[in-house]
Amino acid sequence: MDLELLRRWVLGECDAGEREEVARWLAEDRSHERLVEVVRRMSAEPGAWTQSFDAGAAWSRVSRVVSSPEGERVVRVRTPGRVLSIGQRGGGAGFSGWRVAAWGLVAAAAIALGSKMAWGPLSRALSVPPASVPMREVIAARGQRAQVRLVDGTRVELAAGSRLTYPAAFTDSVRAVSLEGEAYFEVEHDARRPFLVRTRGGVTEDVGTSFVVRQYASDARLEVVVASGTVAVRAPGRNATTAREVGAGQLVRLDSSGGAEVRAVDLEQYLAWMHGRLVFRDTPFREVLAQLARWYDADFELADSTLASRRFTGAFQGESLDQIVSELAPPMHVRYERRGRTIVFSRMPGDR
C-alpha cells in the first residue's frame, strides 16, 4: 500500500476516488487497519517517533556494573531437578538474576540467610577498612557459584554458600578482601600492593598465585590450598613475620590458637568444585554432608551422631541429589529416608 496515500487519508486530504481506493483496501483484510493505525500515530504524534533518551545517564547506571568491580556473576550450579533463581520476579532469563546479583546483593543475602545458613558475626571478626570506601559484597547462596573479577584483575570463584566482601576501590598500599566460605583466587600479583584474604581464622597473603581459601562459619580451622606460586598465611592480629609460607601443591591448616599444619595434597580434590566436581578422599561423613548441603541447598540430619566420623571416598559430577544419596548410603553402611525437605541418615539395623 502507498504509505503517502494512507497518510493523506488519515489527515483527511484525500479526494473521493482515493477515499474509495483506501476503503476497498481496508475491507480486504483486518490487518490493514493495523497499518492505518500506525500511520495515524506516526503522523499525529509529533515528536513521539524522535523522542530522545539520555544515553549518558543510562551509561552511568550500566557502567556501575561494567567497570567498578569488573563485573560479577552468579553462576547457577547445575543441580538437576532444582532450579534456583535469586530475587527474580516471574520466570525470566538467567540474566535478570545476574543483574539482581550485581545490583541488589541485599536481596541475595536475605535469601542466603533465609536458607538456614548461619553466616556468623562476620564483621566483628574482621578488621574493617576505612568507612569512606564503599564495600561491596558477592554472595553465592547455597546451590550456586559466583564469579567475580575485581578491579585489579584478580579472578575469584566463590563456592556455594560463600560470601566475599571487598572495597569498591583498593587503596595504594594493600588489596584486602574478606571471605566467609570457600573461594578460589587467581591474583594479579603486584609486589607493592599485596593481596590479602581475611577470614575469621587468619589472613592469607598472595605472593603471585592462585589458591583456594576455605573457612565456612562451621569450620574451626582456616584451610588454604595453593595451586601455583606461594602464599603466606598468618593468624588474625599477628604481624607478617609470623606468617607461614606455603608453596604449590600444599595445604595449610591454621587452627584458632595459631598452630599451623602444612602438608602436600592432591590439588584435584581441592580444585574440582570449580569444574562442577565434588571429590572426597577419606572425608568425614559430617563434612561430606555439609558440602552436599551447600551444593544442593539440601538439609541433612544424622540420627546417630557417631555416624559423623565415618569416612567416605568418592567423586560426583552432575548427579542429582537423590542419585548421590543412594550411592553414598551403601559404602557408608547407612540407611536414609526423606522427612519433608530433610534427608535423615541412620545406622543400619544390627550395625555397631
Binding site: 493495523r34 500506525v38 517517533w49 544515553a55 547506571r61 550500566v62 516471574g90 543483574r99
Partner: protein, 201 residues
C-alpha cells in the same frame, strides 16, 4: 570508480567495523562496549518503547540487553550486523516483558471473573491484536531510525511537521527534486520494513 562499489562494498566495510567492535567487546574492552552502547542506546529505546509504551521500562529493558552482552561477552556470538543482533535481543526482551505482563493480567482476570470464559477469550484476542500492532509500530520505528540522515530528515519534516515539498526544500536549502528523491527513498525503505501482506504491489 571506487565510489560506486555500492551497497556490497559499503556493507563489507561496516561489517568489518562491526567485527572489530564485537571482538574488542569480547576481549573485555570497556571502551568498545561504551561505543556500542552509545551508538545504539537511543534507537533501541525508541524501538522497545513501541512495544512497552513506557519510557522507563524501555530504558530498563535496553540496559538489560547491554548488560547481558557484557556479562556473557566472552561467549558473545554475533552473526551478521551487530545492530540487527541488538534489535533482535531488544525485541525478545520486550516481548518477554509483554508476555509476563499478560500472564499477570490474566491471572488477575481469572480470579476476578473465572466463570466468564467468553470474556477471557475476547481478551486474549485483544492482546494478540495489540501485539501485532506493536510489532508493526516497532518495525516502522526501526525503519525510520535506520534511514540515512537526509531521507530521514525529509521524511520527518513531511510526516511529523506536515511541510510541503517546497517548504522542506526551502528549509533545507535543497532542490524540490532532491526532496522528492529523498522522500521516495524513505518511503521505499519503510515499505520494505512492512510484513509481506501489507506491502502490496
Amino acid at each position: 570508480m571506487t565510489q560506486s562499489l555500492g551497497p556490497i562494498g559499503g556493507d563489507r566495510c561496516a561489517g568489518d567495523d562491526d567485527r572489530a567492535l564485537v571482538d574488542a567487546v569480547r576481549a573485555g574492552s570497556e571502551a568498545a562496549f561504551f561505543t556500542l552502547f552509545h551508538a545504539n542506546y537511543e534507537m533501541l529505546c525508541r524501538y522497545v518503547y513501541r512495544y512497552v509504551r513506557s519510557r522507563a521500562i524501555a530504558e530498563e529493558l535496553v540496559s538489560d540487553v547491554f548488560l547481558r552482552v557484557w556479562a556473557q561477552r566472552e561467549r558473545w556470538e554475533v552473526r551478521g550486523r551487530v545492530r540487527a543482533y541488538l534489535y533482535g535481543a531488544a525485541r525478545n526482551l520486550a516481548i518477554d516483558h509483554l508476555r509476563r505482563e499478560r500472564v499477570e493480567q490474566r491471572s488477575l482476570d481469572a480470579t476476578v471473573r473465572e466463570h466468564r470464559v467468553t470474556g477471557g477469550e475476547r481478551r486474549r484476542c485483544e492482546v494478540e491484536e495489540r501485539l501485532a500492532s506493536e510489532e508493526l509500530a516497532a518495525a516502522m520505528q526501526r525503519a525510520v531510525d535506520e534511514l540515512p540522515p537526509r531521507p530521514r530528515q525529509v521524511f520527518l519534516l513531511r510526516w511529523q511537521r506536515h511541510l510541503t515539498n517546497a517548504e522542506i526544500a526551502a528549509s533545507l536549502g535543497i532542490a524540490v527534486k532532491t526532496v522528492e528523491m529523498h522522500m521516495t527513498r524513505a518511503l521505499d525503505v519503510l515499505r520494505g520494513a512492512l510484513p509481506e501482506e501489507l506491502r502490496g504491489g
